[in-house]
């Protein structure tokens, strides 16, 4: 490849990136808890709305742990449907897929765990925790319904935040009036070995509807996330 061709390819890539950034309009609603010494998150997500005509974009319900300082590296596990990214595949049928993703060293990864396993009313149990993995070593361990799904090596043994999230990977479609309820939520602190109530959700801007709490009322163990219908 000639120097000019390489330059043209780089210029094309940059243009594509600029365009992609310009049209990216994903939305995120999150309940978050901050502390400097967290190392676990446990809870169920109650899938309540089915965006039946997902096209092009993705809808995801991850539970996340922000390892190290705020921002940067994190680990997540949850349910998704729609467009695939990295090693996660497209999934445009009515059922939701269990997946995990995150960043290590600032590098993103995504893997499907179980394809098409939940519909509306599904209540998977997820857990992220720094503990002894099945290989006998202490790792960040991800569980789905109490079954170990990944043991991950990191440069950090504690986390700065835990969060429950509802996110779209692009601009919503007209029926994306979607919500998800998290319940039985607990967090864990380094060295404690005990689960503590998540506490009332601190909502993260910009997209959330704080006045539409769970039908079961506000609780230290629940967080109800919502993205408004498109106008």
């Amino acid at each position: 490849m000639s120097r000019h061709m390489r330059l043209a390819a780089v210029a094309g890539l940059l243009s594509a990136l600029l365009v992609a950034n310009a049209v990216y309009a994903g939305e995120l609603s999150a309940g978050i808890k901050l502390a400097t010494n967290l190392d676990g998150l446990l809870g169920r997500s109650d899938i309540r709305t089915d965006p039946a005509t997902v096209t092009g974009i993705g809808y995801v319900h991850p539970m996340q742990i922000d390892i190290g300082g705020l921002g940067g590296d994190f680990l997540g596990i949850g349910t998704a449907k729609g467009v695939g990214v990295a090693s996660c595949a497209n999934d445009y049928d009515p059922l939701w897929t269990v997946y995990r993703d995150g960043e290590l060293g600032g590098i993103y990864h995504c893997y499907d765990i179980a394809v098409d396993v939940y519909g509306v009313g599904g209540t998977p149990l997820f857990e992220l925790r720094r503990t002894v993995c099945s290989n006998g070593n202490t790792r960040w361990v991800l569980y789905w319904n109490s079954v170990e799904k990944a043991c991950l090596y990191s440069a950090s043994a504690s986390a700065s935040a835990v969060s429950v999230v509802l996110e779209t990977t692009g601009p919503g479609t007209t029926d994306r009036d979607i919500d998800v309820k998290y319940y039985n939520l607990y967090k864990n602190f380094t060295g404690s070995g005990t689960w503590y109530a998540f506490g009332n959700c601190d909502f993260s801007p910009p997209s959330y509807k704080a006045d539409f709490y769970s039908l079961d009322g506000l609780s230290d163990y629940r967080c109800h996330l919502w993205l408004d219908p498109m106008a």
């Binding site: 990136l17 978050i32 921002g71 940067g72 949850g78 600032g106 590098i107 950090s156 969060s163």
Partner: protein, 212 residues
């Protein structure tokens, strides 16, 4: 006569080849691994000497993102923290320590920046604005090779003083910034340096801290 010239040319060619091979070996030893067995990697790395993967995942091609939240939402002033030998003057790359987060079990996150860390500044605001983050964590038995293996082919093993470290070029953030992450362990704590600087600059900053 013709034969002698050819022989001389062949000798010159052989000599040139030997020089190139020697330089390549030095470069590989000094850059790709940046540390030989038992050696101490304290010398400066030249700009451009570290060859990195050009692969990346764009911000919009991720299924989920962390909620962006201010690092210091209360805007509280810097609490006194004990200095350590890595940053004895609380200044890194000419930037003063502006804030620190002290966690359990020896965790410490330090933020070096040219301006105070206001109550709305997120991690990406901080990195994109030129700030340097230094994390410390107590990770028992941490090994660079295991961490690099977990991350994959975009991780590089580099020397940081007498330790092995892992260097990565992060995926772009919401505004396109791509910090380098460099993690190493001194046998007690694991450290991670995060900054939107060149790979060479980040390695040299870490070496400067470790080697003094």
């Amino acid at each position: 006569m013709t034969v002698r010239v050819r022989l001389q040319r062949r000798n010159y060619s052989t000599l040139a080849l030997l020089i190139v091979v020697t330089l390549a070996i030095v470069a590989v030893a000094g850059v790709s691994r940046l540390m030989g067995p038992g050696a101490t990697a304290c010398s400066g790395v030249a700009e451009g000497a570290i060859v990195e993967s050009q692969d990346f995942t764009p911000w919009e091609s991720r299924r989920s993102h962390l909620p962006e939240y201010p690092i210091n939402p209360s805007g509280s002033p810097l609490a006194p923290i004990p200095a350590d030998s890595l940053v004895p003057n609380n200044t890194l790359d000419g930037l003063p320590l502006q804030w620190a987060s002290v966690g359990g079990n020896g965790a410490l996150v330090r933020y070096f920046w040219g301006v105070p860390l206001g109550p709305t500044v997120t991690a990406w605001n901080f990195w994109d604005g030129g700030g340097i983050e230094l994390e410390r964590s107590l990770v028992e038995g941490w090994a660079a090779a295991d961490y690099a293996s977990e991350i994959g082919e975009r991780a590089q093993i580099v020397g940081v003083g007498s330790y092995e470290g892992v260097l990565t070029w992060a995926d772009p953030g919401p505004n396109g910034g791509r910090p380098h992450h460099l993690s190493w362990s001194d046998g007690t704590y694991t450290y991670t340096l995060i900054a939107e600087r060149s790979a060479a600059r980040v390695v040299n900053l870490a070496r400067g801290m470790v080697c003094g």
